[in-house]
């Protein structure tokens, strides 16, 4: 799975990290345009594309695509 997180609109609330039951996402070291620390796809192989992170993101900036 390919998980893209928009680095312009992400506000670093980390709700996506909390909602993922497979531990795919984690807090990273990169900052978004707003200056917030962003999550990143730590274990993309564990992703089952339930897309709960997509619908939970309050800033509509996560996209999960099958590759």
């Amino acid at each position: 799975m390919k998980i893209t997180i928009d680095s312009v609109y992400c506000k670093g609330c980390l709700l996506c990290v909390g909602v993922c039951k497979k531990g795919v996402l984690a807090l990273g070291a990169e900052r978004s345009k707003g200056g917030y620390l962003m999550p990143y796809a730590k274990e993309p192989d564990n992703c089952i594309a339930c897309k709960l992170c997509e619908i939970t993101c309050p800033d509509v900036c996560i996209e999960v695509t099958k590759d």
């Binding site: 609109y9 506000k11 509509v60």
Partner: protein
């Protein structure tokens, strides 16, 4: 940005003004997915918002938008529906906007059974103005205007709305966005006054004042512990202390106002 969001969100208005982790963003996200699945065209719908954090939601959506006075979102939407009976009208409102300042408008719109879909995002507090006590603030909760604890009990929203005559009532929570999407779809399909109460966590103002939480995740975890999903056609258990989520009231027997008005008009012209 998400591909579904690109279809329905005005890119020039981004980023959302909502604080990091705000439940209102989750409501917008679930709403665009609901209308994507229903296949609603952009000229078939109009969104109305009043004043408050939640009432910013229609501004970001790429539909006809009416942003009006505080508490007056429902009367403006009723007017819009009266002159455009074929249009789907959605009202985005907060708990203070809908129950506090616009309480009487809500009761009368429910009584008329006019075909609106009202999404009331309840975050227990007046978030935008700094954390004053709202009509939904829990008993004994500490806010900026009730520093010794709230002396009043909150509204029982379901009883108020259903008792006034609303024909559809559902309750959702931002912790369960897929159920919220399904409830919004059912509310949009329902002909008549549909009211959807959404418990939307406010990690900034309610989180600091009422709950003393440090992060959005802590607020979400608390909300998740307070709610449970009700199965289809199941009745809430009176012994359960948690809040049931689901479609709690549907009444198909009452006629819709604009339908009745159209029939009367046609009969008078004969």
């Amino acid at each position: 940005m998400n591909s579904i969001a690109e279809k329905f969100i005005r890119k020039e208005t981004l980023p959302f003004i909502f604080c990091p982790g705000c439940g209102h963003g989750i409501v917008v996200n679930s709403f665009i997915r609901a209308i994507d699945e229903l296949g609603v065209q952009k000229n078939e719908m109009a969104c109305v918002g009043g004043i408050g954090c939640s009432s910013w939601a229609p501004v970001y959506l790429d539909f006809d938008c009416l942003h009006c006075l505080h508490g007056r979102a429902i009367p403006h939407a009723e007017g819009l529906k009266a002159v455009n009976p074929d249009k789907q009208i959605v009202v985005f409102s907060g708990d203070g906007d809908c129950l506090g300042i616009g309480g009487n408008h809500l009761i009368h719109a429910a009584k008329r059974n006019i075909d609106l879909t009202v999404l009331m995002m309840s975050n227990y507090i007046y978030g935008m103005t700094g954390g004053q006590k709202a009509p939904t603030t829990p008993y004994q909760a500490t806010t900026k205007t009730s520093p010794l604890g709230n002396e009043e009990h909150p509204f029982d929203v379901q009883s108020v709305v259903v008792g006034s005559g609303a024909t559809f009532y559902a309750r959702c929570c931002a912790t369960h966005p897929i159920q919220m999407k399904e409830a919004i779809k059912a509310g949009l399909r329902h002909k008549g006054f549909s009211f959807i109460e959404i418990l939307s966590p406010c990690p900034t103002t309610a989180g600091r004042n009422i709950f003393n939480f440090k992060s959005p995740q802590e607020t979400m975890d608390w909300y998740r512990s307070q709610v449970y999903l009700l199965g289809k056609d199941a009745k809430p258990d009176p012994a359960e202390t948690r809040i049931p989520l689901g479609i709690l009231h549907v009444d198909e027997s009452r006629d819709e106002l604009t339908d009745v008005q159209r029939q009367k008009k046609e009969a008078a012209q004969k």
